[in-house]
């Protein structure tokens, strides 16, 4: 389907939904309802996609406007129709079952929003400004919580508080769009100008998140490919960098590292053998000196400001003797220890789970100053969570 066809379909759907809705009540004007229905369909095709959170549909903000602009009957008709058309227009998920499920989720989320709004609004007779705002906030929260519940059932994870920026942007924009449309007691009533203009910051947020997502994907793929270069060149065992990056990230999360520290750790893990590509080939029968490889990798990463923290981690991985005064419990020191343990573990097991017990034993019996006890404990917890090893005592 071309873009024009898609657009026409959105408009037609909006007209149809609103036309039907207008027959059953006298909430908003027919033109407004047509445009809002079309907006519901159109925004459902776009999602706010923050990095460490499941995507949020932009249509949530339009639902907030509809909650206030339409009568409950109109609302139900527009939501049921509008989301149905959107479900037909979307490109993913491909499978009919998943698509239908998503449709039902959306309708349920909208219903919850309407329920919360009505419940709060009708709890008192006088609709003060505070009550209206509270009802709208309740609708926004209810909608997001409902979508969280569905995500938790589907993916068995719930976003952390730190990753809730997009939720906040969506909720506040939705409230403002709804207030801007209808006003409160006739005050601050802008009609469609309200939702249109107050959606601009939300659209800006959406665009910024898109830029972040595509740049991050490109960055991750680039370092993944460079990490794999050493493997494809036969200098490192196949899959080593990716496995070490996964394991190190999980250990970092276990040790409570921040998002940016984890990001640097992942970069360091993927590229810790990168230097091997630039060394002259070892004389027959010999292998690369790991310290030299790490030093060169670190030097190369440190040439760029943005990657210097990752370079520090790679350098810390092979600082066999801690310099006096260096605190290995934080920053690059700790991350370096994590990388060192993850890399050693992967070299011992060669990616095979059945060697895990033996590898952990080997890591523990190594000299004390080489591996950090807390980091080894984190490794054990991660392995237990992966059900590779029994829970540590």
């Amino acid at each position: 389907m071309t873009r024009t066809q898609r657009l026409l379909a959105v408009i037609a759907a909006g007209a149809l939904a609103a036309g039907t809705a207008a027959l059953v009540g006298n909430g908003g004007t027919i033109v407004d309802l047509v445009l809002l229905s079309a907006a519901l369909v159109a925004t459902e095709l776009f999602e706010l996609r923050p990095i460490d959170r499941a995507p949020l549909s932009l249509s949530f903000a339009v639902v907030m406007v509809l909650v206030r602009a339409a009568t409950p009957m109109q609302f139900v008709i527009i939501v049921v129709f509008g989301y149905l058309v959107a479900a037909g227009l979307r490109e993913s998920p491909k499978r009919l079952g998943q698509r239908s499920l998503l449709y039902l989720e959306r309708v349920a989320e909208a219903a919850v929003a309407l329920g919360a709004y009505r419940l709060i609004l009708e709890s008192e007779d006088r609709h003060t400004t505070r009550l209206v705002l509270g009802a709208l906030a309740g609708a926004a929260v209810a909608q997001i919580v409902a979508s969280d519940v569905f995500t938790a059932i589907r993916e068995r994870r719930v976003a952390s508080w730190r990753a809730r920026g997009a939720d906040l942007a969506l909720a506040t924009s939705g409230i403002l769009m709804a207030v801007g449309y209808e006003g409160i007691h006739g005050q601050g009533r802008f009609g469609l100008w309200g939702p249109l203009l107050f959606s601009i910051p939300l659209v800006a947020a959406w665009y910024s998140f898109e830029l972040v997502a595509s740049t991050r994907r490109g960055f991750r793929q680039t370092i993944g490919a460079l990490g794999a270069a050493a493997e494809l060149g036969g200098l490192v065992r196949s899959g080593h960098s990716e496995r070490v990056a996964d394991l190190a990230s999980e250990m970092g999360i276990d040790l409570g590292m921040s998002t940016s520290e984890l990001h640097d750790l992942e970069t360091a893990a993927l590229l810790h053998h990168f230097g091997a590509l630039c060394l002259d080939d070892p004389v027959d029968g010999e292998t690369f000196d790991p310290v030299e490889v790490a030093a060169l990798s670190a030097t190369m990463l440190r040439t760029s400001d943005a990657l210097a923290p990752a370079g520090d981690i790679v350098a810390a991985e092979h600082s066999w003797h801690r310099p006096p005064g260096d605190d290995p419990s934080a920053g690059a020191g700790l991350a370096g220890q994590v990388l060192k343990v993850a890399s050693a573990f992967d070299e011992l097991t060669d990616g095979r789970d059945e060697h895990a017990d033996w590898a952990v034993e080997a890591l523990y019996t190594g000299p004390g100053y080489v591996y950090d006890g807390r980091v080894l404990a984190a490794l054990e917890r991660v392995l237990a969570a992966r059900e590779v090893r029994a829970t540590p005592l």
Binding site: T172, G191, W193, T215
Partner: protein, 449 residues
């Protein structure tokens, strides 16, 4: 700022005058007119300072929008009581950029306070002329905001042009041409400013946090995009360092290819993001060389057939690496075709790959390699034209040649930017390919530089 000393006093005088004019305005208006609502002044003023100090500098270095929007909002908020003083104070608050204070850049501080204050008060004056019955309705208010917003940016533009022409010692006209209509994207913010101001008047100060939250989130996301983008540039730099460490004869090669590719892309009308992807792809086009042993890359002269076979083993690796990266996908088919020697003139591959192939070949010919010296530019052009339509895309070849001739750039023998010191001087013959050394005998006579 070559002539900073000569024009410096004038610039200082301009900055002081602007700030002084704004300050006098505050004194006169507060002595003669009503005082503005202090809550509104505090809320909007603090927000303005906050916006000015948390702004993320956009790629085009504009960071005006938030304070501009708040200035317009203040014009609406204060229309009924202190219609000039309120906006003037808010505008001045937007000029308080704390790093200017801590780094003692007094001139910049005074300039911003003065020019933003005067821009806001001029806009407010225009808005106050509009009859009251027009600004009753939202439509009327939005319409009335347009001349006000234009006035704001006009005053701001005039101040900026004067200051820049003094600071950089350039003609006023040149600076004006450069800045003229540079900030069209800010006008939607004027309309949002009107609505924000009206909501504030109608419903109270609580609308402010509701409005600020998404703006801040958008900014924060944009900041993390900028950080990621510099990380992405960093990784490409690292890659280039690695390739140059392996083969110092190719110093600067990736950057030059990326630059030529960008020139062609601009000429073919590519948009910003596509240009950026093309640039990155061009920087990475040699990624597969990472797995070629150093001694083969650095070998002077021709490779033996066994060595050449060994080198060719990097080709599938290159493809494998390139296919892992989405933004390199457009160049994968071209590289595949190059490896398969399937230069049959059928161009199903995206144009990005063909652009890079032409630029790669051009730079390879016009720079010195381990196996031969740089060729003169005319020879390189002739070779590209000769293979145009076959190995190379004719449009890309002609575009590159045209752009380089328009720019008057000379590359090749006698014009090399990075002249490499060699252990074994390379021979001065052979057209060679863009690749890793040539096995084929050269049947073409090449003039020795």
């Amino acid at each position: 700022m070559a002539n900073d000393r000569g024009r410096g006093p004038l610039l200082t005088a301009l900055c002081v005058c602007l700030a002084l004019a704004a300050a006098i305005g505050v004194v006169v208006l507060s002595a003669t007119g009503p005082t503005p609502n202090l809550t509104a002044l505090a809320v909007l003023g603090l927000l303005c300072v906050f916006a000015a100090n948390t702004s993320v500098v956009l790629p085009n270095e504009s960071a005006l929008s938030a304070s501009f929007m708040l200035a317009i909002a203040s014009i609406v908020v204060f229309r009924d009581e202190a219609q000039l003083l309120g906006p003037l104070a808010i505008g001045m608050a937007a000029g308080i950029y704390l790093p200017h204070v801590t780094e003692r850049e007094w001139r910049k501080l005074l300039f911003n306070i003065g020019s933003l204050g005067l821009s806001a008060v001029a806009a407010a004056a225009v808005y106050s002329i509009v009859p009251s019955n027009v600004v009753e309705s939202v439509g009327g208010q939005l319409a009335a905001a347009i001349p006000a917003a234009l006035t704001y940016s006009l005053v701001n533009f005039v101040c900026l042009v004067c200051a820049l022409s003094l600071a950089e010692d350039r003609r006023v006209r040149d600076v004006a041409d450069e800045l003229w209509l540079g900030d069209l994207q800010i006008y939607p913010f004027a309309l949002i400013g009107v609505l924000l101001g009206r909501l504030y008047v109608d419903l109270g100060a609580w609308v402010v946090p509701l409005f600020v939250a998404p703006v801040l989130i958008a900014r924060q996301a944009f900041a993390s995009y900028l950080a990621l983008r510099s990380a992405q540039r960093g990784i490409l730099e690292t890659l280039i360092h690695a390739l140059e460490a392996k083969d110092h004869y190719t110093a600067g090669h990736a950057e030059r290819v990326a630059r030529y590719a960008r020139l062609i892309g601009v000429e073919l009308g590519f948009k910003t993001r596509r240009l950026e992807r093309l640039h990155q792809a061009a920087l990475m086009h040699d990624v597969g060389k990472l797995v070629v042993p150093n001694h083969l890359l650095k070998k002077p002269g021709k490779l033996t057939p066994e060595e050449f076979d060994h080198v060719r083993r990097h080709e599938p690796v290159s493809l494998e690496l390139i296919r892992r990266i989405d933004f390199l996908l457009p160049i994968a088919p071209t590289i595949e075709a190059e490896f398969a020697d399937a230069a049959d003139g059928e161009h199903a591959a995206p144009i990005e790959g063909r652009i890079i192939a032409v630029c790669d070949a051009y730079d390879a010919m016009t720079s010195t390699r381990a196996y031969r010296r740089a060729l003169p530019q005319e020879v390189a052009f002739a070779e590209l034209r000769d293979k145009a339509g076959g190995q190379f895309d004719a449009e890309c070849v002609e575009t590159l040649i045209r752009v380089l001739e328009d720019l008057g750039e000379q590359h090749g023998a006698g014009h090399e930017a990075d002249v490499t010191e060699f252990d074994v001087p390379p021979p001065s013959a052979g057209i060679g390919s863009a690749g890793l050394g040539d096995l084929e005998s050269d049947d073409r006579e090449v003039p020795t530089p």
